[in-house]
């Protein structure tokens, strides 16, 4: 059988200029001008550009996922799990390497992406659905199902900023759960709700898988991987440490950390 996801040597490097805090710093126009002129002068004087520090977000990551498989991605914080999902979701571009996906992808890196607090539940269902890649007709067709699953019938015409966080999450998950892709990519979005919410989410993931679709999901919970995944990928410092049947990989992970 052919894999539905094939990743070959995916690599992502992040540049960090010396002295800059990577995530908080925006270069201003002035700085860019100052810098580029300084580099120009340095070059004339034969100086090399100071080496910028590289961080390996991903390093040579290769794996395959078969259709209908649920693959868990585990690893310590900063292992590159989210980076991998972002590359596969086409939000960031790899520095090198290649991945082929043989199906439509829906990524769920966050619940309620695109929700606007001032819009009503009804309006946000359409907006969020469209953001996640559903067409208007598709959303209309599933609208009742989405509302029912989220249990927000009474609050459809209320702005979501007035929702309790539980309602908000249920609505957000419900829209996402009614996506119909061949490949579902899920980041650690399940950790946010309470127990019953989590149960509902996991039930839905099992449904999706039972439907013959492929799921890729990141989690910190070893037991989740054991219960819901066929295979697992263990990442550390951007590299694949181990991949294989979920139980084995989880065992290794537990032994290592």
């Amino acid at each position: 059988m052919k894999p539905i996801i094939k990743a070959e040597s995916l690599t992502k490097q992040f540049l960090i200029s010396p002295g800059d805090a990577p995530s908080v710093h925006y270069p201003t126009l002035r700085e860019s001008i100052v810098r580029s002129t300084r580099f120009a002068f340095d070059r004339i004087r034969g100086k090399r550009r100071p080496r910028e520090e590289m961080i390996w977000g991903l390093k040579d990551v290769s794996f395959e996922v078969m259709p209908g498989e649920v693959m868990g991605i585990i690893g310590p914080n900063g292992a590159g799990k989210s980076t991998l999902l972002k590359v596969l979701s086409r939000i960031i571009e790899p520095t090198s390497g290649r991945a082929e996906l043989y199906g439509r992808v829906a990524s769920l890196l966050e619940l309620g992406t695109g929700f606007h607090p001032d819009l009503t539940g009804r309006e946000n269902i359409f907006l969020n659905g469209a953001v996640l890649g559903m067409g208007r007709r598709e959303i209309s067709a599933r609208f009742d199902e989405i509302v029912q699953f989220a249990e927000v019938e009474r609050f459809l015409e209320t702005a979501v900023k007035h929702y309790s966080s539980g309602m908000y999450l249920r609505l957000a998950f419900s829209v996402a759960a009614h996506l119909d892709p061949e490949i579902l990519i899920v980041d650690e979005v399940l950790a946010v709700g309470d127990a019953s919410f989590q149960k509902k989410c996991l039930g839905k993931i099992d449904d999706v898988q039972r439907d013959g679709r492929t799921v890729l999901f990141v989690t910190h919970s070893v037991s989740l991987v054991k219960e819901h995944c066929h295979r697992a990928l263990l990442l550390d410092q951007g590299q694949v440490i181990r991949s294989g049947p979920a139980a084995e990989v989880v065992g290794d992970y537990a032994a290592m950390y």
Binding site: Y26, S32, G68, S96, Y102, G103, V131, G212
Partner: protein, 311 residues
């Protein structure tokens, strides 16, 4: 990273029925569950892209409903929790027009090419407001949608495009008042006004061209956000909004016409007030719009790769 345009994309579609009962829910049995044919060619290929990649308008087309929804969101949200609602779209140019009529018209006696001051200023302001709001909304659109950019994939071009499109409703509302004014001042409202439609289109595309470029720049250089209001203000003063370009000495007219807005505003007024259109400045505006739009799109596409990381 591009969506392969082949029809293969659709073949993988599941005859899905999520609620369908499937027995044997144990995790290990998944492989013998519903089989579906994988397409020959990948639906999505992910790899580093060259700096000047093709525009991939097919991907934008595939996401056209998202343009609609984002435009709709911008319009919905704009006047939420306001008492006056969409009346703001009327009120702003109206009040500005009244002030201009008094100060520039009655006191400073700016020449008006024989058109009553209120209507003269209002036409200029109408187009200018549409253009400048389009540009500034588009310029700030990407950084205003950081959550979308860092969490979902779609062609980023859609965000500034929707921002510009959302301004169209305000423009239409404000135009209604113009029609009343035209009738009030006894201008013959005729079918020749249909010539305004292509002018609105060019104005929209010009706003998009400027907006795309600024929005991409704004992701990296937040200076844009601070410089823009200032630049737009100056731009208005060098455009024939509150004065006709006939006040400029003939030998300097060409300089005025270098500003593509000049040709557009003059053409608007020419159609509305039944003057002859000066074709050369208008043609120039169209050419500049086209060139700018192509350039901005490619520049945008080039910078788009880093948006999620830099924003």
């Amino acid at each position: 990273m591009n969506l392969s345009p082949g029809q293969n994309a659709n073949q993988a579609e599941l005859p899905s029925a999520p609620e369908q009962q499937v027995e044997g829910s144990s995790v290990t049995s998944a492989h013998r569950q519903r089989r579906f044919e994988l397409p020959e060619k990948p639906v999505v290929v992910i790899e580093p892209r060259k700096a000047w990649a093709p525009l991939d308008l097919s991907a934008v087309w595939a996401h056209r409903e998202l343009i609609y929804f984002l435009t709709w969101r911008d319009i919905k949200v704009r006047y939420k929790q306001t008492v006056l609602g969409a009346a703001w779209a009327l009120l702003q140019p109206l009040v500005t027009m009244i002030i201009f009529t008094y100060f520039f018209g009655k006191l400073a006696k700016v020449p008006n090419d024989g058109v009553p001051y209120p209507i003269f200023f209002y036409t200029g302001l109408l187009i200018w407001t549409y253009f400048s709001n389009g540009v500034s909304n588009a310029a700030n659109s990407l950084i205003g949608n950081t959550n979308l950019i860092t969490k979902v994939y779609f062609p980023r071009l859609i965000i500034p495009t929707a921002s510009v499109a959302a301004g169209l409703l305000d423009f239409v509302i404000a135009s209604l008042l113009l029609i009343f004014m035209l009738i009030y001042y006894g201008f013959p409202v005729t079918l020749s006004y249909l010539a305004l439609l292509p002018l609105v289109l060019v104005t929209t595309l010009f706003a998009l061209g400027v907006g795309l470029w600024l929005s991409a720049l704004n992701v990296k250089y937040r200076d844009v956000r601070y410089a823009l209001p200032f630049v737009i203000q100056i731009w208005m003063f060098v455009s024939p909004i509150i004065y006709p370009s006939s006040v400029v000495p003939r030998e300097w007219r060409w300089l005025m016409s270098l500003n593509p807005i000049t040709g557009l505003v003059e053409a608007f007024r020419a159609v509305l007030f039944n003057h002859g259109i000066r074709w050369l400045p208008l043609a120039y505006s169209c050419v500049v719009t086209l060139v700018l739009l192509v350039y901005s799109s490619y520049m945008f596409r080039r910078m788009e790769r880093d948006f999620a990381e830099v924003i």
